[in-house]
Amino acid sequence: MRVALLSLMSCGSCAENLEIVCQSEGHELVWSSLRDDGEVPDVDVLFVDGAVDFADADARERLERAVSSADVVVSLGSCAATGGFERHAIGMREPARYHFTVFPAAKFADTDYAIIGCPPTEDAIASFLEALEEGDDDRLEPYRVLSGDFHGLDPNLPSPVRGPEATVEDVLLTSNKDLCLGCDLDVVERELFCTGCGACAASCPAWAIEIDEKPEIREDRCIRCGTCFATCPRSFRA
């Protein structure tokens, strides 16, 4: 596939993983804002990585222009999708719950899919590109749902909580989130849905989850990337 990358305020790990995947899986990274100037050429998919300071008009305009020229836009990594490191640990300060000027890129642009992770593993990026290439809507569904606007979450969703085998459309029913996907400092509702499997602790990139029976999130380390929630076997079915 022909791939482009717009890298905004980020550490660069997502971009690096994308490049590795493109090389190993035979996709062509035709344009990357890290090395190319000018406009985004005609590509199959545009990845947006990183966060945007909303006081930075230049960055917002670049994002807007790039997104308007692409058919498929994907937020790559948690900084672009949910908040993540750039929003919650700016300048290596202690993470603050709200950093008022920095938002995930997906907040300023309509994205079709989101790949959660800090950074998303090469496996996740490769399997997403494979599903996109094959047009496999079933496999793409989680990426589509996770790109939804969780900040403007409607608390009056019509469906009731029915159980942990929620389909991915009902993904939010197992949680009560407003800041990002997996936050509220609980992976999923502890008493009702958590089986204590430990997958969240294994997936946490910030070593913020300690688990004895049920996960305990250390607020001072959590970057609200949502990886734990997306990984939880009870947030939605694989």
Partner: protein, 300 residues
């Protein structure tokens, strides 16, 4: 009674066919057997037939895996904690069931990070979580590539450590530290204390002390596993083994060929009981869902 009804009501046709257990109830499988370890040390250390421990030891010795994610016992009596076992000695130390939550997958990242081939042993929910990590690798790399064997344990529900302590105090009237052996077989939770006394309580009593989240689970037999192992439906000292995938089949075959495991036909046990309990668990989940019905929680 239910078993009798089942026999009368048309289940007979299926029994004549190839499948000995109903895949609708126990999940898809390629083969169902009774198995136990041939070596005494595995049977003694293990819960029933020592099948899981012997199978893992065989896989380690044959170089099929380098490490296994299992749960061992920590400093508190009967309190499990996940560990990565790399030798037969460590496997033997971790052998046997502990009836409390062990977040095994929290050790998975360390395991796949430092070993090329890993086996994971877990409850049905943990097995499903590994499958999800394989297809949605948001945070843990190389799970699909490096997890070579996924062993699921039959599980009716799991207890929190607090729940287990309370259960022993109230229903069994025993102290955790004096317990020599715990076992769930044929619908009974049995405890043997150090003075040799055996006390038991029906599994339905466990519900009150169990992890609430288990009430939703429909999976008794770890339907996503490569190999599922449990004691339900097996005679004393034996395990029921359900082989579900090609790689599960290969490793089991290799263990049988090497005479690490001895297998028998599953019909020599009690497959009807296994089917009944599997079906009960599905029905129970339905009622749990009704009990907690509530509207979507409003934002604070």
């Amino acid at each position: 009674m239910r078993g009798l009804l089942r026999k009368i009501l048309g289940k007979k046709d299926r029994r004549d066919g190839k499948m000995k257990l109903d895949p609708e109830l126990v999940g898809e499988y390629r083969g169902a057997y009774l198995a136990r370890a041939t070596e005494e040390r595995f049977r003694e250390a293990g819960q029933d037939g020592g099948t899981v421990t012997a199978l893992l030891a065989h896989a380690l010795e044959e170089g099929y895996i380098e490490a296994a994610v299992v749960s061992t016992t920590g400093s508190d009596p009967w309190r499990p904690r996940p560990t990565v076992a790399t030798s037969v000695e460590e496997l033997l130390e971790a052998a046997g069931s502990k009836y409390s939550i062990s977040p095994n997958l929290s050790a998975l990242e360390t395991a796949v990070g430092s070993h090329d081939s890993v086996a994971v042993v877990g409850t049905p929910c943990q097995v499903s979580a590994v499958r999800k990590l394989e297809s949605h690798a948001y945070g843990v790399a190389d799970v699909a590539e490096r997890v070579k064997l996924l062993i699921g344990l039959f599980c009716s529900e799991n207890l929190t450590y607090k729940g287990l302590t309370e259960l022993l105090e109230k229903e069994i009237e025993a102290d955790l530290s004096s317990v020599e052996r715990m076992d769930i077989t044929a619908g009974k939770f049995t405890v043997v204390t150090s003075d040799g006394e055996e006390r038991s309580v029906s599994v339905s009593e466990l519900r009150r002390y169990a992890n609430e989240a288990c009430g939703f689970c429909t999976d008794l037999t770890a339907e996503d596993a490569d190999v599922s192992v449990g004691s339900t439906g097996a005679p004393d000292g034996w395990n029921v083994v359900l082989v579900r995938t090609g790689r599960g089949e290969r490793i089991l075959q290799s263990a049988v060929d090497a005479e690490v495991l001895e297998v028998r036909d599953v019909d020599e046990g009690d497959p009807a009981t296994l089917e009944r309990l599997a079906s009960d668990k599905r029905e129970r989940a339905e009622s749990a869902r009704c009990a907690v019905w509530r509207p979507y929680p409003t934002s604070p």
